[in-house]
């Protein structure tokens, strides 16, 4: 009687204490995540949503002052899709990205393979050199390339003329957008190679040497072993690097903007520059937003591939 009531009482209080402690434990991760999540939500998630919303609005100077856009449906999109300039920019961006990414991956992998072949001293020297290049901030890189291709005293013109590849004296690399983009390609690929080389090299070093020994015993010559054993094992790394490179190179903005003193002519527009120009220079934020949304859509495919590969390699548990 009394004992039954007692035991019921202790059971109930224990249950209460138990659930409060459990509640604390369940809430803990969310509490820990909250500050970081808040920052990301405010600065990233909300603006993303804003971006989408603005692309459907007219947002000029007037709207900027009033802090509110005017809904115009898909008018922004139809205006850019009907604009030949827009499609030129899209094509240019795609072509530029394709060239940059291909060169980066091919040259980067070649250098990684070279790292495998050279002696230890040279390997350390080469890796250090690569890291040095990797460390150069983008703006600094722009400045030093600007100096190298200077039309009057730049070392590029002098060297090319000396190598008898043509007369490059006083050659302005940016007068012609083709040569101009050539410079940008060189600049970007130069800066991007170290990351690819070092990552691929790390991957090459992770290939179990027993597999290569087994292949050698099985009769495979070095190139066959590379093709049959090493490459398939490196596939995940290549997928990650290529999709990252696409994502980064598609967004190129600073290099062109700073090199051309913030006044690139329309032949130099990439999608990022085009969006920026429309927004901040013409104050058509709605149009700029629409262009930006299309940009994000383009990169979405590459992002999906990247995410899928990262998840698949067991990074997410």
């Amino acid at each position: 009687m009394a004992s039954v009531a007692e035991s019921e009482f202790t059971l109930a209080s224990r249950r209460r204490r138990f659930s409060r402690r459990r509640l604390g434990r369940i809430a803990a991760p969310y509490v820990l995540l909250a500050p970081a999540a808040a920052v990301v939500a405010v600065v990233l998630a909300y603006p993303l949503y804003l971006l989408g919303k603005m692309s459907f609005e007219k947002y000029g100077l007037f709207e900027l002052i009033r802090h509110k856009g005017r809904w115009i449906g898909t008018a922004n999109y139809s205006s850019i899709f009907h604009d030949a300039e827009f499609w030129r920019v899209v094509l240019r961006t795609i072509a530029f990205t394709a060239v940059c990414v291909s060169l980066t991956m091919v040259l980067g992998t070649a250098i990684a393979l070279l790292l495998l072949q050279v002696g230890r001293v040279m390997r350390v020297a080469l890796t250090t050199g690569l890291v040095l290049v990797w460390a150069i901030p983008t703006i600094v890189a722009v400045d030093l390339w600007r100096w190298m291709v200077d039309f009057e005293f730049g070392v590029a013109n002098w060297t090319l003329t000396k190598l008898q590849l043509g007369d490059f004296i006083r050659h302005d690399w940016f007068a012609n957008p083709w040569t101009g983009f050539g410079v940008f390609t060189a600049l970007i690929v130069w800066g991007a190679i170290p990351f690819v080389s070092i990552t691929v090299y790390a991957g090459l070093a992770q290939v179990p040497h027993e597999l290569l020994e087994a292949a050698a015993i099985d009769g495979a010559r070095p190139w066959a072993a590379f093709r049959e054993v090493t490459l398939p094992l490196l596939k995940p790394i290549f997928v990650i690097l290529t999709s990252l490179s696409i994502i980064w190179d598609f967004q190129v903005f600073q290099q062109i903007w700073v090199m051309l003193d913030g006044r690139p002519n329309s032949d130099y527009y990439t999608m990022a520059i085009y969006a920026f120009h429309e927004s901040f220079q013409i104050s058509e934020y709605g149009l700029g937003a629409a262009i930006a949304v299309v940009m994000v859509m383009f990169m979405f495919a590459a992002t999906l591939v990247y995410l899928r590969q990262m998840l698949r390699t067991g990074e997410v548990r």
Binding site: P208, I217, G219
Partner: protein, 398 residues
């Protein structure tokens, strides 16, 4: 004509101590030779030199009648089974098996025939489409073997292929490998650190230590007539009991603790007045009730019931071996530490006793030791003293 031969082979890495020292070994055609020894003894290095995965510092290795020192692995016509199997993870079992044939440009039809035949023989026929990750340890092992077999090489090289398997599977695969080798009659050089594996599988066993070949012989000979203290302590499980004793002035008697044993023959004549190392196998340490000869008194420390027999640890008055570096470190039974009065003056003998005997720890016991079954070794060099029963050819041979 030996199928595989090491001639004065040395291997040194940089300026360190040599990994393999003056190795001379012949493997006859169709023979199964096991290289065994503790880790770091050079057995794997020796194997890899045959495969061409390590450079030979000096000496020659011949396969068939060709000197292969300068040949790349793929030109040596050998096949290797690795400890971790080294199966190509992104290829199917079929492609793994066929890889070697493909590299040698064997026509597709022929490839298919050979792969399917081997797969069938190894019980892999319905797994040909699977990837290694989807196979069990034993199945992967069989694929590794199949990959070697399908190439019909001059020799098999096996680098501890069973180490990654659990105990029961290991026993099973041991027999399978031995059977396959017998059926195919392929020259095989097999490396392991497990002396049980070595003894059960090899036609001949080569014991190595610190890069030096200690002895190569049939398993039974190794057991019965070990050439030195290391081989004596390494081969046999549970390991041989080893201790020090004094020889009397005539060279006819062995003295240790309170015991004096008459030793027939001329074995100890050379060592009169000196000390020797003595070895006796656990199964020769018997319960003394029906023994006429000398007895050794001791007390029971521990009884381990094995079911079919008992392993009894008996503390006996004798001097332990001082030169511990002469024996296999891993094989020594744990010394009697807790509960023993005088560590300098007692030795634990392991005896294999009949399971029906009732023995309790602390009990005094008498063991019978037949002097004719004792092994004697020089205390300085560790070399075995020649006995009447197993005359040894001292010195370098072969």
């Amino acid at each position: 004509m030996a199928e595989l031969e090491f001639i004065h082979v040395n291997k040194t890495y940089g300026g360190d101590t040599p990994a393999v020292r003056d190795l001379n070994l012949q493997v006859e055609e169709g023979e199964f030779v096991v290289l065994v020894g503790p880790s770091g003894c050079g057995k794997t290095t020796a194997l890899r030199m045959v495969a061409g995965l390590e450079e030979i510092s000096s000496g020659e290795i011949r396969i068939g009648d060709r000197v292969v020192n300068e040949l790349a692995p793929r030109d040596r016509d050998i096949a290797m089974v690795f400890q971790n199997y080294a199966l190509y993870p992104h290829k199917s079992v079929y492609d793994n098996l066929a890889f070697g044939l493909r590299m040698r440009k064997v026509p597709k039809e022929e490839q298919r025939k050979r792969v399917e035949e081997i797969a069938h023989k190894l019980g892999l026929a319905d797994m040909l489409e699977r990837r290694p990750a989807q196979l069990s340890g034993g199945q992967r092992q069989r694929v590794a073997m199949g990959r070697a077999i399908v190439r019909e090489p001059k020799a098999f090289l096996m680098d501890e292929p069973l180490s990654n398997l659990d105990a029961k599977l290991r026993v099973q695969m041991r027999a399978e490998i031995a059977r396959i080798q017998k059926a195919l009659h392929v020259t095989t050089l097999y490396v392991t650190h497990d002396q049980v594996e070595a003894m059960t599988m090899g036609d001949r066993v080569a014991v190595m230590r610190d890069g030096i070949l200690q002895q190569v012989d049939t398993p039974q000979h190794l057991y019965d007539a070990p050439a030195n203290l290391f081989v004596a302590s390494f081969v046999g499980s549970p390991p041989m009991n080893i201790f020090e004793a004094a020889v009397d002035a005539d060279g006819t008697r062995l003295v240790f603790g309170e015991t004096q044993l008459d030793v027939p023959g001329r074995v100890l004549r050379e060592y009169a007045g000196r000390r020797v190392a003595v070895g006796i196998r656990p199964e020769e340490v018997r319960e003394a009730s029906s023994w006429d000869g000398a007895r050794v008194r001791g007390s029971v420390l521990l009884v381990e019931a094995l079911g079919a027999e008992q392993l009894v640890h008996i503390e006996v008055a004798a001097t332990p071996l001082e030169r511990a570096d002469l024996v296999d470190a891993a094989a020594q039974p744990p010394g009697p530490s807790l509960g023993v009065e005088d560590l300098e003056r007692s030795v634990t003998l392991l005896g294999r006793f009949d399971r029906h005997l009732l023995l309790t720890p602390g009990e005094a016991v008498e063991v019978a030791i037949d002097p004719r079954l004792l092994h004697f070794f020089d205390l300085e060099t560790g070399l075995a003293l020649p006995t009447v029963d197993a005359p040894l050819v001292a010195g370098v041979a072969g």
